[in-house]
């Protein structure tokens, strides 16, 4: 039977592996532009080649290196998902803080409004928003940003409500610190831990949802590579090139897995009581 110290050391190792993997993945994705084969270059002589030394994960229907395209696609995914997380933070956290601080009608107004958003299954909400703004990277970012707001606001509100019980908030109020001051300098730092955990978790969800959007053609548009679109393209070659889907699929899975483990690790360290 593992002791509790063994268990935590296993958890810590998982966290370190996850973070190291994420750093390498981000590095490779950013380095994609300087890697040998440009993703748009078509090497028409070598279409749908199986994995080889020259093309580790084979080539696609236009003879492009699937590994290199995957790195480009990952770059797009990371940028869109990252921007979406920032968007949901920028909207959700202030909403949650205002709801918690002022309470009463502003609380019910904000939270009921967000409940209505939660009534949409998240992928459908993203599809709906992307449909309104039209397909593309920006609309995918906005769609994913909006989808993340309700949960982010809930977490911020919950943490802020708990923090407000603290005496130091009363103390600040007594010495005349205004609502903005209290929210910015007292509540914000203390709700950081749960918000960071939620942001990491949402990063993973955003990557999955972005892949889903681009899979059905609502994400980044051709010829820019995206992981979801690559997977969609590969469906035509399930028989002739079964390896096609491997690199993009594995990449999404590994990055999401690492983000989830990182979120678990962060939760264990930043927020031990939950």
């Amino acid at each position: 039977m593992p002791t509790s110290t063994e268990r935590t050391s296993r958890g810590r190792r998982g966290f370190v592996i996850a973070v190291v993997f994420l750093l390498i993945a981000c590095g490779l994705a950013l380095l994609a532009p300087v890697l040998p084969f440009a993703p748009y270059t078509k090497m028409t002589t070598a279409r749908l080649m199986p994995p080889s030394f020259n093309a580790w994960f084979g080539t696609d229907q236009f003879g492009r290196d699937i590994f290199v395209r995957t790195l480009w696609g990952l770059q797009v995914s990371l940028v869109i998902a990252g921007a979406a997380v920032l968007t949901s933070l920028a909207i959700g956290v202030p909403l949650g803080l205002v709801a918690a601080y002022f309470g009463r009608w502003s609380d019910s107004l904000i939270m009921r409004g967000l409940d209505a958003l939660l009534a949409f299954p998240s992928l459908l909400l993203a599809i709906g928003v992307a449909a309104i703004i039209g397909p593309g990277a920006v609309s995918a970012t906005i769609a994913l940003g909006i989808v993340g707001v309700p949960q982010m606001a809930r977490i911020a509100r919950g943490a802020a409500l708990a923090e407000q019980q603290g005496l130091y908030v009363d103390a600040a109020r007594v010495v005349g610190v205004g609502p903005l001051g209290i929210m910015a300098s007292h509540l914000m730092p203390n709700i950081l831990a749960p918000v960071v955990v939620q942001a990491t978790l949402y990063f993973a969800i955003a990557i999955l949802t972005e892949a889903g959007l681009s899979f059905i053609g609502l994400g980044v548009q051709v010829p820019r590579p995206s992981l979801g679109a690559m997977l969609s393209d590969s469906r035509a070659y399930t028989v002739s090139a079964p390896w096609y889907a491997l690199a993009p699929g594995l990449t999404i899975t590994a990055v999401v897995l690492a983000l989830n483990s990182a979120a678990d690790g962060l939760r264990a360290r930043l927020d031990p009581q939950r």
Partner: protein, 317 residues
């Protein structure tokens, strides 16, 4: 219990109104003029105006919304802006396949997640627990449509055990229908069972430490009875709320899975409608999905109340 049911029903109404308003406003904000699209590429301004007035698009938004809402209550979802067919008929054909898929996915996820979550929770940190947790983490991380494609590649193309795509209705034979349903349902379950599994496992872990569980051990009850009547029974109640999360995932996920398996449901209808900007169809599909989601959550809430004696017997004391 009756009061609880009524309260939940009343709470659902404003949510449905707000979401319908959101969908309506969203669709009106969309780029492109449906009237111009329907009238054709080289239509004159007069023709477009005529189409617009026929569609009622020249009235104020408030009037349009109220008319739309009124029509909804009578089951009239309008006409497709592309084919001109009644939307209710187009959507009607697609509801059964999606329900099949979502129900199958729900049942499979609950069974798989329930059994594995219980086993893992009752033997924390055992080999089984660690294996189940690892597989669950993978299931949560893999994009659903990719899992589906892998299943197709292995069981549909390479092994030829199951049809790689398409739906066989139950009217054409139970075996064939189930075979066509197997992979889509498995895809949904692989992604969604982990949600239940994790929730139940954590819930069981927490319940194991409850005072009443120690009291049950103090009564000398057998391990099986303590696990079944004291630990699992109490852990299932909070897990029911996780089923709500699951429903949202399933409804959204079904859309992707339908594409992968060429399943003629609401999801593939939505995607094709997005392609030709058939707003009345998009609107209807989103609306039905949201109503279905709210309704399903309502059932989850009621189930929660039914399982919880505190709510079930709230009227007697």
């Amino acid at each position: 219990m009756l009061g609880f049911v009524l309260k939940r029903l009343l709470q659902a109404i404003p949510v449905l109104l707000i979401t319908s308003l959101l969908i309506f406003v969203g669709m009106r904000l969309s780029p492109g003029d449906p009237a111009a699209m329907l009238a054709g590429n080289d239509a004159s301004a007069e023709t477009i105006a005529a189409v617009r007035s026929r569609l009622g698009l020249d009235q104020s938004y408030a009037t349009q919304y109220l008319k739309w809402l009124g029509a909804l209550l009578t089951g009239d979802l309008g006409r497709s802006m592309v084919s001109g067919l009644p939307v209710s008929r187009i959507v009607g054909e697609r509801i059964a396949p999606t329900l099949e898929l979502a129900t199958g996915g729900l049942v499979a996820s609950l069974l798989l997640g329930g059994v594995l979550g219980t086993l893992a929770g009752l033997q924390p940190n055992s080999l089984l627990d660690r294996m189940v947790s690892a597989v669950a983490a993978l299931g949560l991380a893999a994009p659903m449509f990719w899992t589906g494609m892998l299943l197709v590649a292995v069981f549909g193309v390479a092994l030829k055990w199951l049809p790689p795509a398409g739906r066989v209705p139950f009217s054409q034979g139970l075996g064939a229908a189930l075979a066509s349903l197997a992979m889509p349902v498995a895809t949904l379950a692989i992604a969604n069972a982990p949600v239940i599994m994790r929730f139940l496992r954590d819930s069981i872990q927490e319940t194991r430490r409850a005072d009443y569980v120690r009291a049950a051990h103090a009564k000398g009850l057998s391990k099986t009875v303590v696990a079944r009547d004291y630990i699992v029974r109490n852990s299932l109640i909070p897990t029911v709320t996780a089923a709500g999360i699951l429903l949202g995932n399933l409804i959204g996920g079904a859309a992707l899975v339908e594409i992968v398996f060429s399943w003629p449901g609401m999801g593939s209808l939505l995607v094709s409608a997005m392609g030709n900007r058939d707003y009345s169809v998009i609107q209807a599909v989103l609306l039905i999905a949201v109503f279905g989601f709210v309704f399903a959550n309502l059932i989850v809430d009621l189930l929660y109340g039914l399982l919880n004696p505190r709510i079930r017997h709230a009227d007697q004391h």
